[in-house]
Amino acid sequence: MNAVEAVELRKRFISYERIGLIRRRKTIANALNGVSLNVKWGEVYGLLGPNGAGKTTTVKILSTLLIPDSGFARINGFDVVKEAKKVRGIIGLVLYPDKGFYSRLSGFENLVYFGRLYGLSRGKAEERARELLRLVNLDWAANRPYEEYSLGMRARLSIARALIHDPPVVFLDEPTIGLDPVSSRSIRDLIKGLKREGRAVLLTSHNLWEVEEVCDRVGIIGSGKVLMEGSPRDIKDRLGLRYVIEIEIEGDSKGKVIRVETTDPVAELKRIMNEIEGNGLRISRMRVNEPSLEEAYIRVVSG
């Protein structure tokens, strides 16, 4: 059984736009047009897509905060609509890294409170709060009011809250948005740690480099559908994106750089090496540039 399973999720939002003083125009936004995905245990799944593609809508449906118009989703076998309470007990959630806490309470007090809401006893909640504050490097600021926390600290506290009840499934909606490189790195390390512990993690992000680093599989969502899914390497291969091999040669043609674009870097590299050796040349420097996930993403999303 997969940790997270979503089948043909559909969701549309109806809103009313005021025209003039009294008249209103009804607008319908089809947020999801049949999203299907699954996340395995011990896997980090990245959900990518442009703004308005349906990433957050998907996360909210999976975390029981939104009821889909059709389709179904299950978290560890529990239906997100019919067994919402059971689902809530086994998921951790980061929706907004910069808010969602009580400003006048300290980080520690906030965590203990949410821990209690998740069913932990007071002693256990306090113990977990201290442990998690150490893990996210906030133990030094545990007793400072949340309103004094910087953006990076708030993001880390959000992750601590998501883990307070030790959930096996974690949803992270853009957890590193607006963070500096050091804070982002620490959160990526945390996410890798969650994966090592066997948890299932669904991550949405616009930082494609980060997604490529931490995610085992990626789903690219656009216009409410998953347009392509697979490991970053698979996606690049399927799209026929080219690797660039650069080789600098010694010998007669000293200083010459060979640059080759190819979809099959292994085979191409073998061929080039054989040719260079055959000609009695030596390689002084070599680099293989893998196509970026950004290229793949842009290719998929722009059709």
């Binding site: 939104l66 007990g89 929706l95 006048r104 209690r116």
Partner: protein, 258 residues
Amino acid sequence: MRLRDWLSLFWAIMLNELRIIAREPGGLVILLLMPYLVAGGMAFMASFFTRVSGIDFIREFIGFEVVMVSMIMVQTGARFISEERSGGRLEHLIATPVSMYIILFATSIVMVIVNISAYLVASLPVIYGVFGVIGLLRLIPTLVIMFIGLMPLYGIGLALAGVVVRLRDVDALMNVVTALLSVLSGATYPIYILPKWVDAVVVALPMYQMYQTALGIVMGSGVTGLIYGLAASTVAYLALGVFTYGRVERDMLKGGVK
């Protein structure tokens, strides 16, 4: 969950809310001073037209207390969802296994306790000044009356929460609601001067029932039949609030928390 676990959870929510309130001492001070300022100010103005006795002042003081704490309860219920939403906490609260009804109920109990405590502390000097020790003893059962009376007001607030959530301008709506409910409180004036149909609305609202019952006890004339009306109001308005909130949460789950 066992009963002990439920009580422990309930207590945790109440404690959290108390902590938040305690960190804004300015609000608590206003709660204590406001009845004196308003009732005192009005008494001062009225004194230029007529003689204002200690009993008149007590009557109006309790009336203003009732109006003030009633408005706080209505506002708390009405604003809860929109404030949690703007603070980014609403979805995280819904996403926990704890029912929102429990969170709302525990939060409302704390607000009631804080308001009753403020009422008690503020009223002590005035009641003692006019009635002496016997007055202080009579104050105790009025705390129970206030406790019963404030709950339906939270229910009224919750019933308004659905409208508040749709409007982006919460303050505007609540200004009108506060003004209207103050006029319809029947707590600071004799209601017979109103038209009959307005009279009927006033009597049906919990503020008038709470005020008349508490006043009767403080004055020593005992509990009136309005206490049954108060009990009925508690059930009716709380049920209305619960039903309305249920619809609001269902709408939010269907349409998303915007």
